[in-house]
Amino acid sequence: MKNIFNTGVFTLFVLMTLASCKKEGKLDANLNIIDKNIIAKTTTDEWLDKNYLNPYNIETKYRFDRFELTSGKNITPPDELQIIPMMETVRDVWIKPFETIGGADFIKRISPKQFVLAGSASYNQDGSITLGTAEGGRKIVLYVVNTFDKTNLASVKQAIQVIQHEYTHILNQTVDYQTDFQTISRGGYMGNWTLGTLAQARALGFITAYARAAPEEDYAEMSSNMLMMGRVGYNAAVSTAPADAQVKLKKKEQYVVDYFKSGFNIDFYALQTEVQNALYNISPPVLAKLIGPGIGYTRMYSNPLKDANQSPEFLSLWKAAVNNMTAGFDLGLLDVTLTFKSATTMTLRYSFLQDSDVLFADADYTMAIDAANVVTLKLAAVQPTTANYANMNALNPAFAPVNNYFKNNKFKIDWINKIIPGNIGGLGSLGAFYKQTDEKSYFYGAMGQ
């Protein structure tokens, strides 16, 4: 009996197994017929295929689809005429620098899969507006495409900043960043980051207020801001922070630089320069507007005897000073450094050799730069009385030819890349003081911080 019973259960089990979940046929609903979204390709679509889809497998979705955007919000679609200018800029300022420095296939290997473009901003309850969002390293939404202006630096920076930020997340998902990065500003992170100001963030060693949101956002903000601000701009921003915060910001900078090198074999500073050069194609940096602590450059250095292209007039004055120093004082004139101590004051320093000791001669100047980028230098009425300033007084007869050149002329401040081709806007880029009355006469030097 027990056997029969068991057999019965077993049979039932087999029957159930056979009977349950039997599926008939295949799904025959043809959902393609309700998709009327297959649209004839426009020239814009073809351009996007050629420049994004085919080479990088990145889709650019610009036709309105409410489900790609925050629900319940009123966001208008982009104007078709704005798509190509926007995506050209994305290509030139974001993609190309990575290809130049990281290798031609860099973006092909690691990239977001979709750009979604929106014409307007996304307006938030608190009155703020959202300019860009990203989801999981796959999709980047760019807003305000309709007011994007590819010739306007601020407009370009705003758009590309979003991409650089999100792309850092994507890179972080490919290669983890250093786990101890988050200990640099430990205690400074807060979920409600919008309550903090930029000044508070900087004082804690964060580059932006948003960087306080979380360590990974901090990392993305560091990387994206360093790329978009450029090295000179970044250093200038850091220099305005308190000393302990400067240490933190420099440390984070080093982490990012190391990460790009070890993770992707990318020279971050070279990448930074490439991005800046792409931005300079839109709007070249104006040297006269980049002078002063917290603004940009703080130093200009030259060794005129070694510089290849000092103007004949300045070089002859310099040589006269060299001879004066040798003949009159038995001292060897070495070089000259202008130190910009504020946007309106400058210290001129000569260094010279007495036997084997390097000594200095200093003089303070006031500096007035007008709207046409023309600077007027005047010897400050009150000079300090320390040794270096005393040296200048004592040696003035020897330096007179050069000192008078600076004092008696007005100069137009500009890059010298038209005479000496080279990078502009970077650390060590060459800048010049062109005599206002004769631009063939100039003094140039390496711009530093």
């Binding site: 309105f64 009123n74 104007d79 307006y123």
Partner: protein, 456 residues
């Protein structure tokens, strides 16, 4: 035997029980079988849902692209007003349009993409930016409206009722209304030849030059027909036993003039379209099948005291030493007050003065701007008022703010000696220089004290 019998019985019982079990299991397994068995789906009209949706989309697509001369389209945003478009849909998901938003869009064609989409209902989506999106643009710098919303308008629409040549759609996000009407060859030609621009220019100019338009439908009452070309709202209002009755409707500009979203009624007489008569340079409408001309009045029909504090909020005197509608006594008293505030010890320069009415609360606030160098301060005087049926006001001063208190003595010629003590008639004043309608205060006790200002 007994035992045996019982044994057999027991045995039988056991077999019975066993049988029952088997039957139960068999039944159970049948249940399982039948539970998994799929039956043929019963389809409404013998079609699958996706087929029906596809059919509907194809039908709408064929309709939109099948109107040989395009569509007249009237969009009534949820936020109010109305806007006219002329649309041409092609089979490659492209649409071209004119619109009555401004002079440019009325004559410069704009092209964008569109698509038909099945979500819950068949929907028409204008999926790249065109004139329609300007109304919905969340940036208030584009076309005004509220930040984040613009004019609360849509660019995704569900298809609704169709009657004859008319398709009605409603906005998916905000339920704005869109009406599409098949255009004729003649209309298409006109749209392509600045027809909408000409009509828009005519209408806006005429409305601008004739501040008071009205119809008389019963030989007794002049009924004001007020068109606001910015808000795109028409107001029909008239005075009856001292009370104002008003009805409003959104309107659009057409090739012929102006068309209301729905008819407005004056005592059962309906008006919907206002057509430009180029020969006579007037508008006319049709009531009960008969032409009725719209007339123009040089003066407003409804006394100002019935409107101020409701339709108008303030009368503002400019920063001037004289002005149309200012009596010589007011000019002298204002000059005296202005001189006194300057030497009040605070070096205050009297600037414009705004008289702000609130008819519900029966209050008047005088906000006088006084400048200390470039810094603006406001001296506020809060009044309550009573008003006779004939429109004679008596203002009673309540509180003053600190600034007003400081200059009480200086402002006395205007405030204490006049506004706070006299009775006033508040009425229209036509600026003789430019025919602009201003608001004017006139003292009952001192007829030589009168002043005017911008009516807002």
């Amino acid at each position: 035997m007994k035992n045996r019998t019982s044994m057999v019985l027991w045995d039988n019982n056991l077999k019975d029980k066993q049988m029952k079990r088997i039957i139960i299991y068999a039944l159970l397994s049948l249940t399982v079988f039948s539970a998994c068995k799929k039956e043929n789906v019963v389809l409404i009209d013998g079609e699958k849902p996706e087929e029906r949706v596809a059919e509907a989309l194809t039908k709408y697509s064929d309709q939109l692209t099948g109107s040989p001369y395009g569509w007249k389209a009237y969009l009534y945003p949820n936020g109010g007003g109305g806007f006219a478009f002329y649309l041409n849909f092609d089979k490659k998901n492209r649409v071209t349009m004119y619109a009555d938003l401004d002079y440019g869009p009325a004559t410069v064609s704009k092209e964008s993409s569109y698509r038909l989409k099945a979500s819950q209902n068949p929907a028409l989506v204008f999926d790249t930016y065109n004139y329609m999106h300007i109304l919905a643009d969340p940036d208030p710098n584009i076309f005004g409206g509220a930040p984040g919303w613009g004019l609360y308008s849509d660019f995704e629409f569900n298809f609704g009722v169709q009657t004859g040549d008319t398709l009605k759609l409603s906005g998916k996000l905000l339920d704005s209304k869109l009406v599409l009407v098949r255009a004729t060859k003649e209309e298409q030609d006109l749209y392509n030849n600045k027809g909408l621009l000409n009509s828009l220019t005519n209408s806006v100019d005429y409305i601008g030059n004739n501040s008071t338009l009205y119809v008389n439908l019963d030989g007794a009452t002049n009924v004001e027909t007020k068109f606001d070309p910015n808000l795109k709202v028409m107001t029909l209002r008239w005075l009856e036993k001292g009370n104002i009755t008003a009805v409003t409707a959104p309107f659009v500009f057409t090739l012929n003039g102006m068309l209301l979203q729905s008819p407005v009624s004056y005592k059962g007489k309906l008006m919907q379209e206002f057509i430009w008569d180029a020969a006579k340079s007037i508008f006319y409408t049709t009531v009960d099948g008969k032409r009725v001309d719209i007339q123009s009045s040089p003066v407003p029909l409804i006394p100002l005291h019935l409107l101020i504090g409701i339709n108008y909020t303030s009368i503002t005197t400019p920063n001037a030493t004289s002005y149309p509608g200012w009596s010589s006594d007011f000019i002298a008293r204002r000059a005296k007050a202005a001189a006194a505030t300057l030497v009040s010890g605070y070096n205050l320069r009297l600037d414009k003065m705004a008289f702000v009415f609130n008819a519900n609360d029966k209050t008047l606030v005088l906000n006088a701007d006084v400048y200390q160098n470039a810094n603006r301060f406001i001296a506020s005087y809060n009044y309550t008022y009573t008003k006779t049926a004939a429109g004679v006001y008596k203002f009673t001063l309540g509180t003053m703010n600190g600034n007003a208190s400081l200059i009480t003595a200086a402002m006395a010629p205007l405030v204490n000696e006049r506004l706070s003590t006299d009775q006033f008639i508040v009425d229209y004043f036509t600026n003789p220089a430019n025919k602009q309608t201003l608001g004017q205060f006139k003292s009952v006790e001192h007829p030589d004290f009168a002043f005017s200002g911008a009516l807002q």
